[in-house]
């Protein structure tokens, strides 16, 4: 079986994820359109942009309030970062400890090298249990392996029970945010989806919509033979799985069906319960600005004799799917520190404008732009995501475990260039930049030529009206200038560079004598 992280795929081939796991049924959005096309599509969706800006603004405010209340947020981040880095550095040890302890407690533990292996493990369990209905709680790993589609291909109904995930499932879409899957939908769109699902007339009031979802999803909890959950943290010292949840559905899914399958990425480990205290403070505050999650469920093995609640069987599927590749690379190892809080999405000015689907990957936002190229090394469409950033660094500042996402984005761009994915013309342009901007004489000549060109040939780009010269109008239609001038005027051309003025500045050593200080520029 090919390992996605080591398999090099040429630019024109579809992702291994698309061919191997999805069959012809769904298209991989990552390879369907370029990043620019996906982003431009999203920019035209005014509903999406308004919804994303509204919700992320609210989350930013709540996070600020809840972290201020806690105090010493930077120290909490340091502790979170230290715990995660330590765990990842010794992941082999803690993974073994976790799986041994979990097995001791009666769980069955599986290691899946890739998505296909994880799918067949889950399918095998489902067939053995003759499952017809699977109840799912939110799990990014299950999205990563597209488990719903695989189950449905086998005639098994898989129902998402997280409200947002259910909305997205009814719309035949994928989550557009790690924590708030339906962030891009407003309540009127949700009303339509629910009315179509149940054939009932509802109102757009959120209490009515939530009530409808509660009623429908309870039927699923009671009917499902299997419950599938993700895993927020796996505690190595006792082999326990910890789930954070606000709606209570994860507790339902993990206790009512007779069989419980946990799907977790191999990096979800924490060494000890003491470490969970730090994460329990960091995660909800970073994600939604809550002081604590509404439900924190800790599961240690399946139901024991004389216990009333819990599944009879507990299966834990631990997924690699490219993570070993990250672990082996010191430059990107820290990406495994991620606790999937979504804080980087909420502060990202790019995510704010385009939402999650524009990334075309399971993981959107800054973490997706970093994680996707790392997990799918060698795939051009994945690598391209590293350019979905202005490198403003807001993601790093927001990250509760201090992953240097902005640095990783730059390093991923280097890899993209090393892979030869950039167009030759850009490569040539930067080669010229390297030659001219490393040599004073060449640079001074180029600067003079550039200014002469704009002053004497192109003319002013004034207000994009008739005043712009005909040549400028032509120039403005050619990339990369066209991209700039679509939204902005070009800067006025200076008559002389600073270095040309410098000798005169030395002659006038006081401020009042310098004509250049009079910087009142006409429009």
């Amino acid at each position: 079986m090919n390992h996605p992280s080591t398999e090099r795929v040429s630019a024109t081939e579809p992702s291994p994820f698309a061919t191997k796991q999805l069959g012809d049924k769904i298209e991989n959005p990552l390879t369907q359109k370029s990043l620019k096309h996906r982003a431009d599509d999203a920019l035209r969706d005014e509903y999406l942009r308004a919804a994303v800006a509204f919700t992320t603004d609210r989350l930013r405010g709540r996070k600020a309030d809840s972290t201020e209340l806690l105090g010493e947020w930077e120290e909490w981040r340091d502790r979170g970062s230290a715990i995660r880095s330590h765990t990842i550095a010794h992941l082999d040890y803690y993974l073994r400890e976790f799986s041994d302890r979990a097995a001791d407690k009666g769980a069955t533990v599986y290691f899946a090298a890739d998505a296909a292996e994880a799918q067949s493990i889950v399918l095998e369990i489902a067939h053995k249990k003759e499952a017809r209905i699977v109840a799912k709680s939110k799990s990014m790993v299950s999205e990563e392996v597209h488990i719903n589609h695989v189950l449905e291909d086998e005639g098994i109904t898989s129902v998402e029970t997280d409200l947002g995930e259910w909305i997205v499932q009814l719309a035949h879409e994928t989550p557009s945010h790690i924590i708030i899957p339906a962030i891009h939908k407003n309540r009127f769109q949700i009303q339509q989806l629910f009315e179509a699902e149940g054939g009932e007339t509802l109102s757009s009031e959120t209490s009515v919509l939530a009530g409808y979802a509660r009623r429908r999803l309870r039927e699923t909890f009671l009917k499902a033979e299997i419950g599938i959950t993700g895993c927020n943290f796996a505690i190595a010292e006792t082999g326990s799985v910890v789930l954070f949840c606000n709606e209570g559905n994860a507790r339902m899914v993990s206790t009512l069906p007779k069989t419980h399958i946990v799907m977790m990425g191999m990096e979800r480990i924490l060494p000890a319960w003491d470490d969970l205290e730090v994460m329990a403070n960091l995660l909800p505050r970073s994600a939604t600005g809550q002081k604590i999650t509404v439900y924190m469920t800790a599961l240690t093995g399946p139901k024991k004799k004389a216990e009333l609640d819990g599944p009879e069987e507990l299966h834990i599927v631990i997924l690699d799917n490219g993570r070993s590749g990250a672990l082996a690379d010191p430059e990107f190892r820290e990406v495994l520190n991620c606790i999937r809080c979504g804080a980087c999405l909420n502060v990202c000015p790019v995510y704010r404008q385009v939402g999650g689907h524009a990334y075309g990957s399971v993981y959107p936002g800054p973490i997706g732009a970093v994680l996707t190229p790392i997990l799918q090394q060698g795939l051009k469409a994945a690598g391209e995501l590293s350019y979905a950033s202005s490198l403003c660094g807001a993601c790093f500042e927001a990250c509760p475990v201090k992953i240097p996402l902005h640095d990783m984005l730059v390093h991923l761009r280097r890899k993209y260039v090393e892979n030869g994915f950039e167009p030759p013309i850009e490569k040539a342009a930067f080669k010229a930049f390297g030659t001219i901007f490393s040599n004073r004489t060449a640079y001074e000549a180029a600067g003079k030529a550039g200014r002469w060109l704009q002053l004497n040939v192109l003319g002013k780009d004034t207000d994009r009206s008739a005043q712009a010269s005909p040549l400028m109008k032509v120039a403005e239609r050619i990339e990369p200038l066209a991209g700039w001038t679509a939204h902005r005027a070009l800067p006025e051309t200076a008559q002389r560079s600073f270095r040309e003025i410098w000798p005169e500045l030395l002659d006038h050593n006081s401020a009042s004598q310098s004509p250049e200080l009079d910087d009142s520029y006409g429009a």
Binding site: A388, E426, S438, S520
Partner: protein, 250 residues
């Protein structure tokens, strides 16, 4: 105090008056200012686009240009951030150059950082009887960690009315080649930034990086806005009250 101006290629070519104001401000504060002429560019455009070898070539020239300078001061948080945050990594293969990079880092300052933390003053005697909004540029505030210094300096400018800017910490959408690679996204970002600036009805926008100000001013000019745009050095050099409009008219 001896200071070498690290003028940056953008200021040198497009905004020489910002260089002049940086020079005069430093002179006014008692510095002896030089301009090492072999300097060109920090190399950031290539580095941030993934062209590390080309970036190293440019950065090496910059490294040499400031060899021996006591203090290197720049009117850009972004270019200073490049020297601080990435030069050592860029020259990791050469112990000698890596040592030079480390040394340059300790000697290089963004203008407001230098005035507040090295010259130890936050009152430069400026007078500016206007309403102003401040855009904190991302690289200066996050990569370099210069958040408070510009605000400290602005707080001491007489008669200046600083207006709060909604989501001021959000990037303006410049991001170097990002502005042309994902030009529509960048355009949406600068549009939101300019909407927030317009809502303040401030007379002037001030900032510490000409890349961001070029982007924002270009968008404001496209929209026909009259807001003046000033680099911090230009504002801090206004030492007497005047209603004279200055800056890059939007």
């Amino acid at each position: 105090m001896k200071v070498a101006l690290f003028i940056t290629c953008l200021v040198d070519q497009l905004y020489p008056e910002v260089g002049v104001n940086t020079l005069r401000l430093l002179q006014r504060l008692g510095c002896e200012v030089t301009f090492p002429k072999s300097q060109v560019c920090c190399g950031q455009p290539a580095f941030n686009s993934g062209y590390v070898d080309d970036a190293r070539k440019v950065a090496k020239n910059n490294l040499k240009a400031f060899d021996g300078a006591d203090y290197v001061v720049s009117p850009s948080g972004s270019c200073t951030g490049m020297v601080h945050h990435y030069y050592e990594e860029l020259f990791a293969d050469s112990p000698r150059l890596a040592a030079d990079a480390k040394s340059l880092k300790t000697r290089t300052f963004e203008l407001s950082q230098f005035i507040v933390n090295v010259l130890k003053t936050n009152d430069v005697g400026a007078v500016f009887p206007h309403s102003v909004v401040y855009h904190p540029s991302c690289h200066g505030s996050r990569l370099l960690g210069v958040k408070d210094e510009p605000l400290q300096l602005l707080s001491k400018v007489r008669e200046l009315k600083l207006r709060p800017l909604t989501n001021s910490q959000d990037c303006c959408g410049f991001g170097g080649t990002f502005a042309v690679k994902l030009s529509e996204v960048s355009g949406a970002m600068v549009t939101e930034k300019v909407n927030n600036i317009a809502a303040t009805e401030a007379e002037y926008l001030v900032g510490t990086d000409m890349g961001c100000l070029m982007n924002i001013a270009g968008s404001m000019r496209r929209r026909g806005m009259q807001t003046g745009v000033l680099h911090l050095s230009q504002l801090l050099n206004r030492t007497e009250a005047s209603d004279r409009k200055q800056g890059y008219n939007a």
